[in-house]
């Protein structure tokens, strides 16, 4: 069974940049445009990984991350936050409390995205080989 990833970003170009190579590698991707949609997708699909952009409308990535980590049913699902600068992140002690598994700093090449995903949820998706 393919590994499932929920990706939430309000920038369609960024979504395409991330999902195309991941789909090609056999990952099952569900895409949301904000934090609220990401949480719904997590409830429905129970993914292996959640990738959240920090800056999104309505419910941003940090709030979505906090809600997921507060929910005993989802707190063990690894979360990766995407940000362009450190200034967009909350103070480190808040990140420490949230136990965010990893961060992606924009701009990043596909290589880095894939490496980090493989480290977080295991080796390269077997079904894609």
């Amino acid at each position: 069974m393919s590994k499932r990833i929920v990706v939430a970003d309000d920038d369609p170009d960024m979504v395409a940049f991330m999902t195309l190579p991941l789909t090609k590698r056999g990952y099952d991707i569900a895409v949301g445009g904000n934090g609220e949609e990401a949480i719904d997708l997590v409830r429905r699909h129970r993914p292996d990984l959640v990738i959240l952009d920090v800056c999104m409308p309505l419910v941003d990535g940090l709030e979505a991350c906090r809600r997921l980590k507060d929910d005993p049913g989802f707190k063990d699902i690894p979360v990766m936050l995407i940000t362009a600068t450190a200034s967009l992140l909350p103070p480190p002690h808040i990140l420490y409390a949230l136990q965010v598994e990893d961060y992606l700093i924009k701009p990043f090449p596909v290589r880095v995205l894939v490496e980090k995903i493989e480290q977080l949820i295991g080796e390269t998706n077997v079904e894609s080989k």
Binding site: A86, H93, Q99, D102, Y103
Partner: protein, 483 residues
């Protein structure tokens, strides 16, 4: 190299010789060693064999395999060595007239008498231990002790200023930037105008957390500037590098202390958060005025590796700023020599070997070679055994006489240890026999001798000047970053 007889052995030798021939020009180009000098070039004069005397620094102008001594240039320390030299029947032997005093040297024959014992040969390592032998070294000259005392005072003062600057910058105060700017300007001025060497300041009691961090910042700044000078950077590049060295870990202050000082392995989330500290450092500087352009970018990249395995962006070789590569090498060197666990902490020379042998995929080889030039054969902090069996730590090194640094020798006295400073540049009859592993030391000596918190470096312009004026060994030319 071992080779067997017959065709196989000959082929191996031939290949090795070919390799050497092929490598030599590249080596010369990279490191810039000069062509071999003659004894006369170095101030040596011919001397009749019957006038050889103990204390003379001589030069045997023949291939190394034609004499039994470890080096062709050495100081005669016994009458037996004189007999051996005479037995070589060389057409001419040279001596260093300027450094030899013809008048008798009181006590020298007596103190060196054990070397004439029948079982001691030039290659024999069984020189009596410090307990059984008469110490070869006298108290250091007053000027040297005064220099070292002054150096330590200067270091403590500079450390305090560094600590103040960092605290002010963390608090967002512009005065901290002005202070950092003054420090960097002073270092660059000393570097470019006085040909500084480096010394290790006494930091055995540096146990205040904030000062450990300030010491790391100061050490990184000093070593980075020295490496930058080796690589012939221009003053503006040195300024950026110096600033970046001083401020590179500011962002660590924002990382929760539970992570920074955790002794168990970090969790994935903790490690990822820690790896954001270069970004936090960069961000903190963006809020301040007076930081030279480029410093922030440099700091943001100071944990990136050439092979794309660094952090926070996993940049690759061509994406990383050349100055950030220097900073990475210095930071890595300090990390290896200051690991918290004593059993994995490396001695300075071991750290250099680790960088050069195992880390070439990750780090700039040019920067590593330049660092080796700067910290020399026996980097400050290296534990060594001298030819009289005493144990000490290298405290000061000069680019002019790499094999003869200053040593702080520890001598047992009842339940404690007395320290004694020896300048091997002056004490020609002594030399370093070998590097000692910290594990070989007795527990009480190990506790006394190994730096508890950090190796701290200081530039010593005055000592460097003195060594340069008297130095007998040529400093290799500097490698260049360009080309």
């Amino acid at each position: 190299m071992q080779t067997g007889p017959g065709p196989t052995g000959e082929a191996t030798v031939f290949k090795a010789a070919t390799r050497c021939r092929n490598k030599q020009p590249r080596h010369q180009k990279t490191v810039g060693w000069k062509l071999r000098k003659t004894p006369q070039d170095e101030g040596y004069e011919p001397i009749p064999l019957d006038r050889l005397a103990v204390g003379m620094e001589i030069w045997l102008d023949c291939p190394w395999y034609k004499h039994p001594f470890p080096k062709s240039r050495f100081t005669l320390i016994s009458s037996k060595q004189i007999e051996l030299v005479r037995a070589l029947a060389l057409p001419v032997v040279y001596y260093h007239a300027a450094s030899y005093r013809s008048e008798p040297q009181p006590g020298l024959d007596k103190t060196l008498a054990f070397l004439d014992e029948p079982d001691v040969t030039p290659f024999d390592d069984s020189v009596p231990s410090s307990e059984s032998s008469v110490p070869l070294h006298d108290s250091p000259p007053l000027a040297l002790r005064r220099d070292l005392k002054q150096a330590n005072t200067t270091y403590q003062d500079t450390l305090r200023k560094t600590s103040d600057c960092l605290r002010q910058i963390i608090a967002g105060q512009g005065a901290g930037v002005a202070g950092a700017s003054a420090l960097v300007a002073r270092f660059i001025d000393e570097l470019l105008n006085s040909g500084s060497s480096i010394a290790m300041a006494d930091v055995l009691h540096l146990n205040v957390l904030e000062r450990v961090q300030a010491a790391h910042a100061l050490n990184t700044c000093i070593l980075a500037l020295l490496v930058g000078r080796e690589l012939e950077l221009d003053p503006e590049e040195l300024k950026i590098l110096g600033f970046a060295g001083l401020l590179h870990d500011l962002g660590e202050q924002r990382i929760p202390s539970q992570i920074r000082w955790k002794t168990e392995p970090l969790t994935r989330a903790e490690k990822s958060l820690y790896q954001l500290h270069p970004l936090y450092s960069k961000e903190m500087l963006q809020e301040l005025h007076g930081i030279p352009n480029g410093v922030g970018d440099l700091i943001g990249q100071h944990h990136e590796y050439n092979n794309g395995t660094g952090y926070p962006r996993r940049l690759t070789d061509e994406q990383i700023h050349p100055l950030a590569k220097i900073l990475r090498v210095i930071d890595e060197y300090q990390y290896l020599t200051n690991l918290r666990e004593p059993q994995v902490k490396l001695q300075p020379n071991q750290a250099l070997a680790e960088l050069y042998v195992k880390r070439q995929q990750q780090l700039s080889v040019k920067a590593i070679i330049a660092l080796v030039h700067v910290v020399s054969v026996y980097p400050p902090g290296t534990l060594v055994e001298l030819t009289d069996g005493s144990i000490g730590m290298v405290t000061n090194t000069s680019s002019c006489e790499r094999l003869r640094p200053m040593i702080m020798v520890y001598e047992r006295s009842d339940s404690t240890f007395n320290t004694r400073l020896i300048d091997l540049h002056e004490q020609r009859q002594l030399s370093i026999r070998r590097i000692v592993d910290a594990a070989e030391l007795s527990p009480d000596l190990a506790q006394r001798i190994t730096p508890a918190e950090a190796l701290s470096y200081l530039m010593l312009p005055s000592t460097a000047g003195a060594l340069e004026s008297n130095g007998t060994q040529q400093s290799p030319a500097r490698p260049s970053l360009k080309g």
